[in-house]
């Protein structure tokens, strides 16, 4: 008798929960998987979306494990134009001030923006000069599988451009749109739908320091030009 085809053995095991004495651990688990799958109810398949503010609670507790309510941990808002008077800028580089703002906190809490001052001399190259960058964290409203993203503001001979390297699954019934938002998460500038080349010219006259939050939303194709409120990625330029 030829040895049994392992694929056939596994297929049979998905349909037969009764353990056999010669089951390997893997096969025993396949029986459990099959039994669970066959026992699935419509309720089981209808996974519930957590409330939108749940993540903020987790983020707050992780950021400040010893303090009580996460709402007390809102990071102070630092005026964006605050002169960065503490450290001398390194020559030829942007001076950056970083505040710890949990990626997470960016989801719901008002986050801190880094003050960015420039001493723009040289250092440019063919790809332009990176003047600020941000790491964007997926928010709870993101489609599962959305990964963290990286954004940068690049100065190409005086014209600024946002580059955004994001990996997002298709958004059913909508499209992704890129925004620059102010610290108060109130005023915002649309940079248009998510582009495959990841390059978004920043309109002349728009000061990224006034709109330091990079936000990606999912927009329903409803002709409504404003932000849908469904942000899926967010980070703060610094």
């Amino acid at each position: 008798m030829p040895p049994p085809d392992p694929d056939e053995v596994e297929l049979a095991a998905t349909r037969d929960p009764a353990p056999r004495p010669d089951d390997t651990d893997d096969l025993a688990r396949i029986r459990r998987v099959g039994a669970a799958a066959r026992a699935l109810t419509a309720d089981d398949r209808d996974l519930a979306e957590p409330p939108p503010d749940l993540w903020a609670g987790i983020a707050g507790r992780v950021a400040a494990p010893d303090s009580s309510p996460p709402r007390d941990d809102v990071a102070p808002v630092v005026p964006f134009d605050r002169p960065a008077q503490h450290a001398a800028p390194r020559a030829g580089r942007w001076r950056r001030s970083w505040w710890a703002a949990g990626a997470a906190a960016a989801a719901v809490l008002v986050v801190v923006a880094g003050a960015v001052l420039a001493t723009r001399n040289g250092d440019g190259d063919a790809d332009g000069l990176t003047v600020a960058s941000a790491e964007l964290a997926p928010l709870p409203d993101a489609v599962p599988g959305t990964g963290p993203a990286v954004a940068a503001v690049v100065d190409r001979d005086g014209a600024e451009e946002l580059t955004l390297d994001a990996s997002v699954p298709a958004a059913a019934g909508g499209f992704y749109e890129v925004w620059l938002i102010d610290e108060a998460v109130d005023g915002m500038v649309s940079l248009g739908p998510l582009r495959a080349d990841g390059r978004y010219p920043i309109p002349a006259g728009v000061d990224v320091r006034a709109f330091p939050v990079v936000d990606v939303s999912i927009e329903p194709p409803d002709g409504e030009p404003t932000h849908s409120g469904r942000s899926v990625l967010r980070g703060v330029l610094a």
Binding site: D7, E8, E10, L11, T14, R15, D26, R29, I30, R32, V33, G34, A36, A37, R38, A39, L40, T41, D43, D44, R45, L47, A48, E49, P50, P51, L54, W55, G57, I58, A59, R61, V62, P65, A103, A104, A107, E135, A137, P138, L139, P140, A142, P144, G145, T146, G147, P148, S167
Partner: protein, 194 residues
Amino acid sequence: MRRDATGDTDDARAAADAELELAFAKGGDDALAAVYARYGRVVYSLARRTVGPEVAEEVTQDVFVAAWSSRDRYDPGRGSLAGWLIGVARHKVTDALRSQQRVTARVERAASVAGGTTATPPEVDQVAERLMVADGLAALRPEVREVVELAFYSDLTHEQIAERTGRPLGTVKSHIRRSLATLRRHLEGLDASA
């Protein structure tokens, strides 16, 4: 068209999951946010189904906070992060139920009423396994899921599934094999966090 390109998309998904597991284990920036974005729904659903909607939010928070603080105990070599998280959730749910039951028991003693209706831990185990499989199935590409569901819910042979779905036999077998391996690894993760 990449109708049968099992390679590309499935590999990319597997690679993304593996990357997420590694980032979590290493405590990388934003890793917890990404893990929550991916698995918040299944953890919250388990909590909702077992301890009820009022307590579910708190339990879900407890799960992710506990998972993050004990992330060095998660070993991708011993199972999936999804399974491990569900395992952590199972513990938290069981704790919450026990404390509910203690309260209920006191109330019942006072009122001389017997019995209780809250879920008992064995039910939690079953719900946990079912929701994990439900989430695992939901994460499959639709064309893969179609094949895998026929494996679970029909009595068709591989050849018949191939015929029914119009896909080559080799593709059918590989979809089933890979999906079973993924789902089995979720259970390994669950067992590892026991």
